[in-house]
């Protein structure tokens, strides 16, 4: 009984001490957890900020960000100034303040206004009259090369040679705006521009003739052989094919077959075939074939 009384008498003091110790630990822990400084909530890349601190005495301030890592001695109770240069990169920063124990807090720096428009256009040369062959991707960046993720509308304008421009507005999504279009009917330069506010990026796609279409050949026998040539070689839209396009001439004389490859030069491909007797001459380029030409022997 006495023992229980004694215990009862001792208990309050033991519990009191325990409560006090726990309270001190909780208080210390909460001080350590509650950062004695306030990080910015709306920081923007390239703009300096102030971090207010509380308390007294000296401390060490650390900042870790996407492109920075700094350590600085500071006085508690005074503002910690972060310069525009120290906050150029958008992303997550962690600020740590150590005065005995360390407290930390994270904050984000948002990208600034668009200052550069990266514009990727493909291909640089596109055959005419092909569906969805030309595409462009525009990405706005701020002056510090941070990708601007806030939605903005990019105006794409396509101006074919000798035709009226067409345009379309595309809002950026996740920092990207893009378009895809078919090539025109006529060969020539296609000017493509992407604009966002006063930013403009220009690219040129050279539209070139597609594969040859409807080859026509003519020829005659001469002392040197059979001279054959095509009529001006054009694609199915009527555009002359580029110089250097290969036309294959074939001469058949029964079982004997001979081939000659000739490049188009100034719209026409020419070749001399060394075949004797009665021959059938034909021409092909890509998937296009031409008429047959029958020439009798000497």
């Amino acid at each position: 009984m006495s023992s229980s009384i004694n215990t009862a008498c001792k208990s309050p003091s033991v519990y009191g001490a325990l409560v006090r110790i726990v309270f001190i630990f909780v208080a210390m822990f909460s001080v350590a957890q509650d950062a004695p400084f306030r990080v910015p909530t709306d920081a923007v890349a390239g703009q300096g900020v102030s971090i207010a601190t509380t308390g007294r005495g000296s401390a060490t301030f650390y900042l870790s960000g996407p492109s920075i890592s700094l350590k600085r001695d500071v006085q508690l109770g005074q503002n910690i100034e972060l310069t525009a240069k120290e906050l150029q990169s958008a992303g997550r920063y962690v600020a740590v303040l150590c005065a005995g124990s360390c407290s930390s807090s994270g904050f984000f720096v948002a990208p600034g206004k668009p200052a550069v428009l990266t514009f990727l256009v493909h291909p640089s040369r596109a055959p005419v009259a092909v569906n969805d062959v030309i595409s462009g991707v525009a990405l706005p960046f701020d002056q510090f090369h941070n990708l601007v993720l806030a939605s903005a509308t990019v105006q794409f304008q396509l101006t074919p040679k000798g035709s009226a421009p067409t345009s379309r507005s595309v809002p950026t999504r996740d920092g990207v705006a893009w378009f895809r279009t078919s090539s025109g009917k006529s060969a020539g330069a296609l000017q493509i521009s992407a604009s966002l506010s006063d930013l403009v990026a220009r690219r040129v796609v050279q539209q070139v003739a597609s594969d040859p279409c409807n080859l026509r050949i003519k020829g005659q026998r001469t002392a040197k052989g059979i001279v054959v040539e095509t009529e001006p070689v054009r694609d199915c839209s009527g555009n002359p094919v580029p110089d250097g396009t290969i036309v294959t001439f074939t001469a058949k004389n029964g079982e004997d077959v001979s081939f000659v490859d000739a490049p188009v030069k100034q719209d026409v491909a020419r070749a001399t075939l060394l075949a004797e007797g009665s021959v059938v001459v034909s021409a092909a380029s890509g998937v296009a074939t031409g008429n047959e030409l029958r020439l009798g022997g000497k």
């Binding site: 650390y62 920075i68 992303g91 997550r92 740590v96 930390s104 984000f108 996740d174 893009w178």
Partner: protein, 175 residues
């Protein structure tokens, strides 16, 4: 007798070396970043299976190298898998770490990638990475910050000759 003893000693050393090497490689494998990629939302181009594998491989290596660069305060590991802005930023960070004496540690990395944009001709891909890792900042040998962080990154990757490189690695509060 001495010869036999020497040979036994040599065998023991060799075995110990092999065991240590195996253990270290196993531990290294465990600590390497875990990366998964979901391409179901990718548009306008769909991501080919081979491309998926290459992106996972290179993204994983890139983060392992990033951790290595920040741990060792050396920009060397950043060459190869980071290009453009990402490369410049990370090198600046490592360079400023060298002067401040701080090191960063990205431990137990887990990256959940979602492809949100894949350009029509496949020359750029945008990924959203929900990264989870234990992040430590150390000054000398003292840990001054330690957290289990979940960070959202907007990532731009472009194909190189034989790999995909990270051009933009930008953390955002939310996607």
């Amino acid at each position: 007798m001495k010869m036999i003893f020497r040979q036994m000693k040599r065998h023991l050393r060799l075995n110990a070396f092999v065991v240590l090497t195996l253990l270290s490689s196993l531990l290294a494998a465990d600590n390497s970043p875990q990366v998964t990629l979901d391409v179901s939302k990718a548009s306008p181009r769909s991501v080919e299976a081979l491309t998926q594998r290459a992106i996972i491989r290179d993204y994983k290596f890139a983060w392992a190298n990033l951790d290595s660069a920040f741990q060792s305060n050396s920009a060397g590991p950043l060459n190869g898998l980071f290009a453009g802005t990402a490369n410049a930023w990370l090198k600046e960070a490592v360079s400023s770490q060298q002067s401040s004496g701080i090191t960063l540690h990205y431990l137990n990395q887990n990256h959940k990638l979602d492809a949100v944009f894949y350009a029509p001709v496949g020359d750029v891909i945008e990924l959203h990475d929900t990264a989870e890792y234990d992040f430590e900042i150390r000054d000398g040998g003292k840990t001054i910050h330690n957290e289990h962080a979940i960070v959202h990154y907007v990532v731009l990757m472009t194909p190189g000759a034989d790999r995909w490189v990270i051009r933009q690695l930008q953390a955002v509060p939310l996607f």
